[in-house]
Amino acid sequence: MQRYSGFGLFKHSLSHHENWQKMWRTPTPKKVYDVIIVGGGGHGLATAYYLAKEHGITNVAVVEKGWLGGGNTARNTTIVRSNYLWDESAHLYEHAMKLWEGLSQDLNYNVMFSQRGVYNLCHTLQDMRDSERRVSANRLNGVDGELLNGKQVADEIPYLDCSKNTRYPIIGATVQRRGGVARHDAVAWGFARAADALGVDLIQQTEVLGFRKENGVCIGVETSKGFIGAKRVGVVTAGNSGHMARQAGFRLPIESHPLQALVSEPIKPIIDSVIMSNAVHGYISQSDKGDLVIGAGIDGYNGYGQRGSYPVIEHTIQAIVEMFPVLSRVRMNRQWGGIVDTTPDACPIISKTPVPNLFFNCGWGTGGFKATPGSGNVFAASLAKGEMHPLAAPFSIDRFHTGALIDEHGAAAVAH
């Protein structure tokens, strides 16, 4: 792999940037791999990368039905934070946050991770109490957080409507200053390039149709290009996880819903942080290109259509205009939907399954992007050892039978 550097940029400029090496190979699948990852999104590619880098397992294939990073990795609002209430999730997301902080250097690829701060607005007294509790819990878990009063919020976010006359007055906020955004495509491409350099085969345009079992043990995957054997299989297919589980012969506590996002036309810099509100149900940031990146809640019904419904767009825009009346005449440029795999407790499932040697990493629901490196890291460790990583252990599928749920509903932000 050619390392990227300032010098390399200069060197290639002399040949008009026409001789850059391809970022990854297009290999033909081998007959057998040590590990097959189903799904070439951010989480799957991160898993493959950490398997090769930290566990020395390089005989790995990532099998993707479309193209790399073409699902939810390409369809989210790129927010990264780790201010979750419960210990289990705070530890997991903080693990991811620490990896984010060194990711560009680690991958030799600029993922444009920008720690510009994530604000969660409080509109009621109960919001303030909940937020104070969450900030305190975060601090005990080593996650940074601050509680701001209304005046501080108004000072820090100039265009936010903090007047008393609004329908949902803003009386405070929490802020995680280490939170921010990252360039979503770059995350997928960076992990893919680094994994490929370590010997991982990235197999695109190949759909996994089912799993082959011998004596009840998973021994590989049936794909649109034939059978590929594997000692262990990790399924990281987000919204399609329920469908994959069905192919493997069991059910998951997951329902797939469309979650949509919108971007506006590019405008001059106006919002230099990420602002989320539970009460009016919207969140917003501004990309480096200048477009406002806006998101909201999921569609209420199950769907695999990768498009959202019009009523949700309307509610989203209402929420944004409630927070930022100054944006009322900004035109929206594009709108799209991703399929999120929501669990009853809004926490992921990183787990063994009823089928030995078949592992699932799914259920990230509406907030998986922020966890990309951490999710890949703990899942890789679990696949390498055959036993779940300590940070992943509480997120076992068994919790839906034992009752040890990790109830993050409404605990963190609008995204849940």
């Binding site: 329920g242 069905r246 059910r251 506590p253 997951i254 797939s256 199950n302 039978h401």
Partner: protein, 110 residues
């Protein structure tokens, strides 16, 4: 925008008037106290979540406020039928549904 036919009102109405309530035809165990953890967990949390035909419960919250069932394709979002609670759908997927591990006597399928 979905247009949904409410079998109670007998009218095609906009999706904004309705609330989706998830998978239909999930029978409640007759004696919940006698369920094992696995049976109760399956009943509470585990769902078919199919990519294709889905039988689901809807509530006409901004209309007659009554529940009914619908068969909808979760990929194309086409609604094939809406039907009253207690009746069976005309359209079903070819593949047999996965059986749950729940074996306890179950209430009448609705």
């Amino acid at each position: 925008m979905l247009h949904i036919f409410c079998p109670h009102c007998g009218e095609l109405r906009s999706e904004e008037e309705f609330h989706a309530s998830g998978q239909a035809h999930i029978p409640r165990p007759l004696d919940p106290g006698a369920c094992t953890d696995a049976e109760w967990g399956d009943y509470m949390f585990f769902r078919d979540n199919p990519r294709g035909l889905h039988h689901e419960l809807w509530n006409h919250v901004a209309g007659c406020r009554q529940f009914f069932n619908a068969t909808r394709n979760t990929v194309t979002y086409e609604i094939l039928e809406t039907y009253l609670i207690g009746t069976q759908p005309q359209f079903t997927e070819q593949a047999a549904p996965l059986t749950t591990t729940a074996t306890r006597e179950q209430g009448e399928k609705v």
